[in-house]
């Protein structure tokens, strides 16, 4: 997970897959700076 440490991250989640806030929490726990996250709907 070191690849995300200290990096700025933009998160786009999928409402029928993994939603944005869940990915953002994972990224934060790996040391990322989440600058934006959202969840999109493709159906």
């Amino acid at each position: 997970m070191a690849i995300l440490n200290g990096k700025k991250v933009i998160v786009i989640g999928d409402r029928d897959g993994i939603p944005g806030p869940a990915i953002a929490e994972c990224a934060k726990s790996a040391g990322a700076d989440v600058v934006f996250f959202s969840t999109e709907c493709f159906v």
Partner: protein, 514 residues
């Protein structure tokens, strides 16, 4: 009779609208702004199906009730290149209406003279609607008011901010703006709203046919589509429900609109079942029309991959929830799942809140539910667009949770998905696929004794409105009618016998004492 509301029947309708795909679908409207000379808009007309192809398309026939899920599953996937032999536009639950008739229906549903049709076109549509059999003479006569409308006149209305209605690429009608300044009453918004109302009305008329209910006996209507009607002072004031009930002849009904993105129908059904269970109303109808913006939503992917544009139909549905009649499946309003503010957004948290938490509270395992009905999107549409098979993803998540809880073994995961899941068949019209397409088949399967318990799961993407980042969802259980709730608040036959025996004993004892 028991104390739960029951599922009295459901109707499902489609309006085949290929010209609306080009002119009114949000993907195409956006493309005309950002890339007007691009390949996609040039190629799109070559990828539109004929009405006959849309009728023979297996998922459409499944939606209107001429194919069951096992029959759909038996057709090798993908389905777009394997037309069925069914050429009937009408099915057990509803119909597939062609575009010209649908424009006529939109005019019947327009009470403010905003729809105008070219005179010759209107005359031909009038004949078809008169022969349709579901519209009154008075409704069909509405089309007489087009006698003076010419193509040139309609073109002038479009120039003045109206929206064109096209048939085979030709301008045949317009929707006029309803206000000079107010964007909430623009021609574009009026077109979306009248189209939603018209598809809802078509479904209501089929619900009357399917259930045989006297229209005058419907007490309350809940609309759960995703449009908003109102003016600049009350943008989402409503009320689609009562507006559609008026045209469908539900003279003793009032109603209201319930919104929740794709979860709207599940929320509305819970409201309806609770209103009936409480004794507030005897017959409540949940209804929704379709969404013009979502026509051709995944069109770019379909065109790119050489497929027909499969999102060429507006969809509608109506469901009757009524007092227990002793036979219809019961809506278990006491086995309800909720995604709450505090639930969280991880898939596991979402599925736990909607599926396993309510089952746990009722002492049930996931294997006690014969069929789960989450979002039933047609994978023929979503897979080429990269969105995967949405129903299958939901079944996998439910099964995985079942393995984690010990309800099923890991090796049973695949067979659980087959046995307790279904192939998706609903058009990607937002709220339309969300659990509710199964209400009709579920009733039939329970009346036939094929299944005993089902769970309907509605999920909604609240974040799209930019008011919250939260997700949403509600779920509920439907069961075959076995007199659930009978005697729940009263006294059973056995108890009455006991009471009488006890009273007689006391009486005899009293006599002996004397």
């Amino acid at each position: 009779m028991g104390e739960y509301a029951v599922l009295g029947g459901a109707s499902y309708t489609l309006a085949y609208t290929p010209d609306m795909v080009i002119h009114d679908g949000a993907t195409q409207v956006t493309e005309r702004v950002v890339n007007p000379d691009g390949e996609y808009l040039k190629e799109l007309p070559n990828h539109l199906r004929s009405f006959e192809d849309a009728v023979r398309y297996a998922p459409n026939q499944a939606y209107i009730g001429n194919l069951n899920n096992e029959e759909l599953k038996a057709i090798e996937f993908p389905w777009y290149d394997k037309p069925t032999d069914i050429t009937e536009r009408t099915g057990k639950y509803g119909e597939i209406m062609p575009e010209d008739e649908f424009y006529g229906l939109m005019q019947i549903c327009d009470t403010f003279d905003l729809v105008e049709l070219e005179a010759g076109f209107a005359a031909s549509v009038k004949e078809k609607l008169a022969a349709h059999g579901m519209f009154t003479d008075e409704q069909v006569a509405v089309l007489d008011k087009n006698a003076n409308f010419t193509e040139e006149g309609l073109a002038a209305v479009v120039e003045d901010g109206g929206c064109g209605l096209y048939f085979d690429g030709k301008l045949v009608g317009v929707i006029k703006k309803a206000h000079d300044v107010d964007v909430n009453l623009s021609a574009h918004v009026m077109l979306e709203n009248i189209a939603s109302k018209a598809t809802s009305v078509l479904s209501l008329l089929h619900l009357i046919r399917v259930t045989g209910i006297d229209p005058a006996e419907v007490d309350y209507v809940i609309d759960c589509a995703e449009e908003a009607c109102g003016d600049m002072n009350q943008r989402g004031g409503g009320n689609f429900a009562k507006a559609a009930a008026e045209i469908a002849g539900l003279t003793n009904a009032t109603g209201s609109d319930t919104r929740g993105f794709c979860a709207g129908p599940a929320h509305a059904l819970l409201n309806a079942a609770s209103l009936v269970k409480a004794g507030t109303f005897k017959n409540v109808v949940v209804t929704a029309g379709g969404c013009t913006a979502k026509l051709g939503m995944n069109g770019k992917s379909h065109v790119e991959k050489g497929l027909p544009v499969l999102e060429d139909c507006l969809a509608g549905f109506s469901v009757l929830i009524r007092e227990d009649n002793g036979t219809d499946p019961v809506i278990r309003t006491d086995i309800v799942g909720r995604h709450t503010v505090g639930t969280g957004s991880s898939p596991q948290a979402v599925i736990s809140s909607l599926v396993t938490d309510p089952l746990d509270r009722a002492g049930l395992k996931i294997t006690d539910v014969d069929k789960f009905a989450p979002e039933m999107q047609n994978p023929d549409i979503t897979k080429p667009a990269g969105a995967g098979d949405v129903p299958e993803a939901n079944f996998k998540m439910i099964a995985a949770l079942g393995v984690k809880r010990g309800d099923i073994e890991k090796k049973e995961l695949a067979s659980f998905i087959v046995e307790h899941g279904m192939k998706g068949w609903a058009p990607t019209q937002g709220h339309i696929p969300s659990g509710v397409p199964f209400m009709g088949p579920c009733r039939d399967m329970m009346l036939d004794g094929q299944i005993e318990r089902a769970m309907v799961i509605g999920k909604g993407s609240l974040f799209l409105g930019r008011m919250t980042n939260l997700f949403d969802g509600v779920s509920f259980v439907i069961e075959a009618n076995k007199g659930q709730g009978e005697g729940g608040s009263g006294v059973s036959e056995e108890e009455v016998r006991g009471l009488i025996a006890s009273a007689l004993k006391d009486f005899a004892a009293g006599l002996l004492a004397e």
